[in-house]
Symmetry: none
Subunit: 402 residues, 2 copies
């Protein structure tokens, strides 16, 4: 459900809303009766906020649907991901600083290793270092194609982003990574007529890239995936009347924030404390701040139950500095669940804590955890309703009708 | 979400459904750990019904959206207020007995005081009494406009309702009340082409009204607001197969009930006991009875936490007489929250009690209160689902599919 109905209700005030996302926050217990990572974590500050505020759980996309990071964040930002498909390539390209406009086509690229028969022997080119990959990406920038501009930027290690700009391009193109070794990379295949021109141009680009890389031992091939463009989503300022900032380390999250009109903040360091220090620095300039903590998800993906617990504890330790800023509304939740037991994203509802001392309704719960959130006063609701709840608790919505 | 899907499922029986609305029922505690007005109230009968029945909480419009009374009641009646915008003027005009049909334009009017420069010095004309205002409204009835009929009716004190009937009228017109003193009343401004004719006619009417009132000391001006018409909503009989009655004191609620085809019952008195006495009198004639108690909301708007508690207690005391009638389904809830702490409507979910001795699923809750309702068996759900739950618990819905 779109949040467009909020537009006529918006009003301005000086309130501050913080959305703190612990990526993949939701989890499962290792044993049926045991705690989740969040439940096992010592989180005195979150527990205090829980007992003063309201808990609930959010459904990221639809019940049973496991979200990717892009759609999960679109939902948190109030855009139904079923209505707004955005290729992850576009998100990463934008996040790393490439310009991607409507009509451009962006993708993520991997260096890979091809054997003498052109089959992939390593999908990540031996995970070559950023140091080794960077000059290769510089060489790829030399590739010229007729009638279009192409820009390439190194991401991390064996990964890069690419964007193509020109007339009559469209991004409905299938991934070229066959997802297993022993097979040749696929040719970029258009999924509809409108995308055929772009698919052919990407095919040419890949050929030229592989010619340039032919001498490389490890990184002698490339695959592309996550083709996408700028879906021209409504911006936060227009949809919510909020001047919004993004404090995130990873390009994907910086990218999806830019797509909705947030300003992406640069800062040093990668720990939760570094992010909150960045928030402190920019506090007076924004109405809404999105903070993204990645490592809860990474630990979940690694099957590291304890590690995930420790990341959550490190966020809890950093929270008092955020509370010192006196936000009017603080929402702490995740974009989806990543149970260590599953080593992957999952569809399970995500615990949510809403703290708004002036306008919140404290429920009976005293602790921030999955099963406490089940009993919370906000109930179980779609992630895309978070923004309207945040605005309401900040006093930023007028009455609907008389 | 529309309840149209219910139509093929309807079946008839002799059951009686009562929807008892305590306006603005939901509240907030004064202190975080304290009770709300409802939780603080001594409500032995409601608590008995709670322990025999099911609790839940309803979201009036959408999470975070604070409803006006009109849209909040449309939602209770099963019509999504985002799809059915009805100007409050139409609701009050209908409620006070004026005929408003599709294509007519109705509005609410206020007498106001204008100074020598035509600026508003009192938006409510010194809150003149009904006694003083009534003859002025009688004089306004004399105003004639070319090509249209106009009818005016006194509401209370400084307020009246007006309806205009004629060809090519439309109601998308902005309020003329500038909402502050020291400014002139605004001219009625059409928000679209179709409403221009009506806007101009209302402008003429206001000029003529002010000529007639020029000699008055206090009530020498008028403002109009809440322009609207009959949105031709599906009637209760057609949508739910129910012969429905409305027992309410205030015109707004009588108006919105008429719009959905309820018959509005006249009765003496204003207290909950008077309303239940009226219900007793008409009991055999209707399948569905909507009872509206206003003063919970008024007390909330006045910031009177104790007063709200006492109104709830007075309703509880009147309930045994209602239960003596042996309704098959009794639903007790509010149209929205009106926390005394906020002195205004709010978006917080509203506690709901559903008692249906024959078909209900008793949950574990024993007391009717906001935080008990969070844990109730019905969960947190949209207000517009109340009618289908009521019909189901009354045995009035067939199986969907085979």
């Amino acid at each position: 459900m779109s949040t467009e109905y909020l537009i006529p209700l918006l009003k301005q005030n000086k309130s501050k809303i913080v959305l703190l996302i612990l990526d993949g926050l939701g989890g499962l217990p290792i044993k049926a009766r045991g705690p989740t990572s969040l439940e096992a974590a010592q989180t005195p500050t979150m527990d205090r906020l829980a007992s003063e505020g309201s808990l609930g759980q959010i459904v990221p996309i639809r019940p049973g649907v496991t979200p990717g990071s892009g759609p999960a964040h679109l939902a948190l930002f109030g855009y139904d991901p079923l209505d707004h498909l955005v290729g992850r390539g576009a998100l990463e390209a934008i996040g790393v600083g490439l310009d991607v406009h409507a009509g451009d086509v962006a993708a993520r690229g991997n260096f890979c290793t091809l054997d003498d028969d052109g089959k992939i022997s390593d999908r990540r080119a031996g995970r070559i270092s950023s140091e080794d990959a960077f000059p290769l990406v510089e060489r790829l920038k030399e590739i010229q194609l007729k009638g279009v501009e192409v820009d390439v930027r190194h991401l991390r290690e064996y990964r890069f982003a690419i964007v193509m700009r020109g007339k009559d391009l469209s991004s409905d193109i299938a991934d070229t990574d066959p997802q297993q070794t022993g097979l040749s990379p696929l040719a970029p295949k258009a999924r509809n007529k409108a995308s055929e021109k772009a698919a052919q141009l990407f095919d040419e680009w890949i050929q030229k890239a592989q010619d340039l890389l032919a001498e490389q031992e490890q990184a002698n091939g490339v695959t592309l995936r996550g083709f996408g463009s700028d879906p021209e989503l409504p911006h936060y300022q227009d949809r919510y009347g909020l001047k919004a900032a993004c404090v995130a380390v990873y390009p994907m999250y910086r990218g999806v924030s830019k797509l909705v009109g947030m300003e992406v903040v640069d800062f040093e360091g990668e720990r939760p404390g570094d992010e909150i220090a960045a928030v402190t620095r920019i506090w007076n300039e924004y109405d809404f701040i999105f903070i993204h903590v990645k490592k809860t998800d990474s630990m979940g993906e690694d099957g590291n139950f304890e590690g995930k617990k420790e990341i959550i504890e490190s966020v809890d330790k950093a929270l008092p500095a955020l509370l010192d800023l006196e936000p009017d509304v603080l929402i702490i939740t995740g974009d989806h669940s990543t149970p260590a037991r599953m080593r992957s994203h999952s569809w399970h509802p995500v615990p949510l804590l809403l703290w708004a001392p002036e306008r919140g309704m404290p429920d009976l719960q005293r602790k921030f955890g999955e099963r406490d959130c089940v009993l919370g006063g906000l109930g179980t609701f779609p992630a895309s309703d978070i923004m309207s709840l945040g605005l309401a608790h900040a006093g930023r919505l007028k009455k609907f009708g008389a």
